[in-house]
Point group: C2
Chain length 664, copies 2
């Protein structure tokens, strides 16, 4: 007789839709140290037998699985969770089986016929003895005692033994799992350090930290800027490329096609005779100065993030050393970047279809490991969507295998599926469309997607109100209120956010041309010196926002975000909370930078666990004002000229209004 090709035909349990799971297990989910993975699976078997179900998980380096019993929920759903405590890759899957003992116990409890019970007790004794054979010592002895007792028991005694918790525990611990089914997939979770989830970025051009009497900044001078940046509460200080800048086709001020003598060029035109991606622009200092700067930043609680842009100025040493990494044209020149009719002759892209692609990949990877060796563990990658996707999966995988704490931020402002792909492939964080989401509808829809759609398992947003390339229309026209509003939204909507400063705190908002999102006199093409002490600087305001983020864990993760109704389209209201709801932050913002707006907020109180009929206090952590609110509907009014945003902490211990300062 022909054999079936089924190896485990007696594996009667089905384990379906194990989740969280990205693209059928093709990609890992993401967590940070200390977070949990709550696993759901649809598990069932034929017939009415009792099944048992166990979540298996382990560090990818560990040899054996840890087990967590799964609990059944309605509709054949089983659930369990585990915490991830180490940076690296962890694995999880589910195993389940039809449990003959627990089926027997369940049926025994419902039997009423004495002859049936007597026969069932004999079967129970057999099950206990079989289990005893698979165990040793005290356990085996105890199981044999239960078998004996079942054999001698009358129906009432027998039913009591069947229900004995100790007996059940022993049988559970040593269950017959011969026909157990383990899900065909082992799923992965990439565990990052906490900064992968919660980080506060400040982007700065070090060349604008100009020493007295100089014309170009240095790392030594930039070190003096560190206390200022740290005082604002940032923990990642991100530098545009620090490498030698090409001179061929160098761009001048305001992106002029030809630089004038002495103009510094764009840091993204990487490579000159002094070196390429592993070299430092000599005017900034040398490697010693850079390492000193990294160490000094660390002392101020900040990590340095470097910008990695895989492109070359025509002067980059790679061009001569590795001509096969570029595309050559019939006239013997290298193909520069272009988007006809536009030309970017100062930039040579790599030819990733080169026959020498593997050497190219290895070299590009070595750029990361080189800077990791210099103490850098965070990288903002420039335009990753113009480099092959398979390379990123390989490169990030390799780097994180060796240095699992490395954080990669994808600077891809492009179509949604491409941004999602990069996140799936391994990017720790991703830039978002936040800069262009201004209305209540836009913000609500977008951040609901980020916080609650399946993409949250792999896509960690990093919200930026501005960048050196993005001066939005809203910031151009909204003035100081717009700048206050947008940074407060970024800081409270997203656990990771960043600003490009000092342009941001100094409310630099003049575009190069009308309708352009480029800054006039952009630091991309020239050295800028900033008057940090200006009276209108937002430095203290931003510092307070970041302090509030540090003091309120609710703001340090993204998934608890919930929007609340306001009867005015110009006012947005949302809350974030931690798991036990001991920390609840409620943000109310006037999205109109020009006019005072007021309205009635309707809180979804059940989610916030507040009594409908009791007053509670909301404490504005920005203004220190405290208000007594009552029930779900409360009045708000915000004047953008003074403070466009309330960042309330909800106090559930209710005092009467007489306790408040303003009542005295």
């Amino acid at each position: 007789m022909a054999k079936t090709s089924i190896t485990n035909g007696r594996g009667r349990v089905v384990i379906d839709r194990m989740r969280p799971c990205v693209d059928g297990g093709r990609f890992p989910i993401k967590r940070t140290v200390g977070e949990t993975v709550a696993v759901d699976a649809d598990v069932f078997a034929d017939g009415h037998d009792v099944i048992r179900c166990v979540l298996l998980h382990r560090n990818s380096a560990a040899e054996s699985w840890s087990e967590v019993p799964m609990r059944p929920a309605p509709n054949d759903l089983w659930q369990a969770s585990f915490a991830v405590e180490e940076v690296g890759r962890h694995l999880y899957t589910v195993t389940a089986w039809v449990d003959r003992f627990f089926t027997w116990r369940h049926d025994l409890g419902r039997r009423t016929d004495r002859a049936d019970i007597a026969l069932a007790l004999r079967i129970g004794a057999e099950l206990a003895l079989e289990t005893a054979k698979r165990t040793k010592g005290a356990t085996a002895a105890r199981l044999r005692q239960f078998a004996d007792a079942l054999g001698k028991a009358d129906p009432e005694q027998g039913k009591a033994i069947g229900a004995d918790p100790e007996f059940g525990d022993l049988m559970a611990q040593h269950a017959e799992r011969r026909f157990a089914v383990t899900h065909a997939q082992v799923l992965e979770v990439v565990v990052d350090r906490v900064r992968g989830r919660y980080s506060t970025w400040y982007e700065m051009f070090p060349r604008s930290c100009v020493p007295e009497g100089g014309s170009h900044g240095t790392f030594a001078e930039a070190e003096k800027r560190l206390p200022y940046i740290a005082s604002m509460g940032f923990d990642v200080l991100y530098l545009p490329p620090i490498h030698p800048i090409g001179t061929t086709f160098r761009k001048g001020r305001n992106n002029a096609l030809v630089a004038k003598p002495g103009e510094p060029g764009s840091p993204w035109a990487i490579g000159a005779p002094e070196g390429g991606h592993k070299a430092i622009h000599p005017e900034l200092g040398g490697l010693t100065e850079f390492r000193h700067f990294v160490a000094a930043a660390k002392e101020h609680g900040m990590e340095i993030a470097l910008d990695i842009a895989f492109q070359c100025a025509p002067d980059h040493p790679y061009v001569a050393e590795h001509p096969s990494w570029f595309r050559w044209r019939p006239d013997g020149t290298v193909q520069y970047a272009e988007n006809p009719p536009k030309k970017y002759q100062d930039i040579y892209p790599f030819d990733f279809e080169s026959d020498d692609w593997e050497a190219l990949w290895q070299e590009l990877k070595s750029i990361f490991t080189y800077w990791i060796a210099q103490g850098v563990n965070i990288f903002r990658v420039d335009n990753p969507h113009t480099k092959p996707f398979p390379m990123w999966e390989w490169l990030i995988g390799e780097v994180k295998r060796e240095h699992p704490g490395t954080i990669f931020l994808a600077e891809a402002f492009t179509r949604p599926k491409i941004m999602h792909r990069l996140a799936k492939l391994g990017y720790t964080q991703s830039y978002t469309y936040f800069a262009w989401r201004n209305t209540k509808h836009e913000l609500t829809e977008y951040f609901t997607e980020l916080a609650h759609s399946e993409s949250r398992e792999y896509f960690r947003p990093n919200a930026w109100p501005n960048t050196p390339d993005i001066l939005t229309e809203f910031l151009q026209y909204g003035g100081r209120p717009a700048a206050m509003l947008r940074v407060a939204l970024a800081a409270t909507l997203a656990a990771s956010y960043g600003i490009y400063g000092p342009a941001y705190e100094l409310i630099e908002n003049v575009p190069r041309d009308p309708g352009s999102e480029e800054f006039r006199d952009s630091e991309k093409y020239q050295v800028r010196q900033w008057d940090l002490g200006r009276a209108d600087s937002l430095a203290r305001y931003i510092g307070r926002l970041n302090e509030i983020r540090r003091e309120n864990v609710a703001l340090q993760s993204d998934w608890s975000l919930r929007f609340h109704h306001v009867d005015n389209e110009a006012i947005i209201c949302y809350s974030k909370s931690n798991e036990d709801l001991s920390n609840i932050v409620l943000v109310v913002a006037n999205l109109d930078p020009h006019h005072t707006q007021s309205g009635w907020v309707t809180l979804s109180l059940p989610g916030l666990v507040l009594d409908h009929d009791k007053p509670f206090q909301v404490h504005d952590l920005l203004s220190e004002a405290r208000y007594l609110w009552h029930g779900p509907r409360n009045f708000v009014m915000l004047d953008p000229a003074t403070s466009p945003v309330h960042v309330f902490r909800l106090r559930r211990k209710v005092r009467t209004e007489h306790d408040f300062d303003y009542f005295l």
Copy 2:
């Protein structure tokens, strides 16, 4: 230097979320002959190069793929479709590549600088020559001509050649696909014959076709019933088990624990000394009579469907011949079916955890192939959810590999995920919860799920208003209007439906006990003789419904279902249509079997492609009444005592009201 483990690092295209796809490709989708598979995939590459994308499909037995170019839609979606014309398994996948020629052509069209264009023409000539090398004869010669022409052209001429459609077609046909990426998965579609999608079932106990003077029906007598059943328009005649019935613990009338002498027992207590699942109950006739009956049914346009119930009466020959297929108890008896404290001593379930499980599976499979050899190609499987899921996947797969036209109907009235699993594993059709969905909300929600959720790719509903086990409360209390309503809903909501007759058309609706869904004097336990000529029979009504189904292709598939608003919760309105909208059926039903109900229907006219401001005719195919409707809002009133349902055909050629019969 260490090699990467990436084999195609230059495959720059990403093909993501190819669909339709069930559980990440673990299970096939389903179609019937003549239907199409519309394939979507998210396809994109790094950068801005032009990509091309092709759908590959083939019969699983074919050696080579057919290709269909995919068309781009917004947001990186690519689409194409193919028709399936043969019963069996078909395969599909997607391949895509960055196309250097079309990128070149796109850029050329936008170039303005004469020197740039001149250089681009040289590159284009190179691309044409490379392609010529990969081709032969006239194609190669023509491509060389294009290359020559590009080499000699001035910028204007060159741009014209670049845009030449013949040049483009040749380059497209012979595209460089060296770095093409093909999706990692090849997805499957199981193609059934049309009856897999559109079928009309009538269930009948042949033993109740009693010859004059006899006490037990025969196949010969049942043959005489065929014209009656065919006149009602059924195309599947389904028989409960036709095998010898056990005598040990045989059940009596109305499920009495002990049968009286002469009582026939339940046909689902399969097996006696005369034989088991491959034998015929002697009182019905022999194999010759059965085959004659099958052939006679075929002449009436009907296929016979058999009931396959994998369980044994204690007298079944398997018990003695294959004791290892049953579970034995310590007292030397076989474990009968039970759900303590209930016992079903007349039924022995198979022990699918038997060491001899493979032989058991093979034997059970051979039951299907035995009956296929007797001319039966449709099987209704009894309680498939109490047998192991892996067996069904293997068994149905094997049977359909040999006999791809076989249709399996899963009689699983159980939890939703289990019903879905059986459908995924291979069941052609599935019983549904229709019998218990009575209100507008329930029907709308459930049939929207069936017609529009992803489950429609594998779960084909077969709606039954009654079965020998299911006499719903609604039918018990609703009388004739309820019976008319429920069969009309089944016949128009579902492309496949069935009734258990003659109980249905004779409005048999008395339960065994109050609150029970069992019939009093159920045919499950006794022979019943029916007065088919009764004046109140619904036979003609049902016949007309089935005729309407045959004449309106809109009713022969499920996916076009759309519900329309009615301002009365007691009235439901829905439409079905074919793809080109040449056939549109609109059903309006009064769900209240006791009272006349009226209301205003609001049609979603855009979906029905009717002008808002023009009158149109609705023609009730049941009553032959015609109404002139105007715009989306129209009045309806239905008296359940006369006709609870309108089955309208929409006539888009509008006559004036003077053309209508009732106006003369």
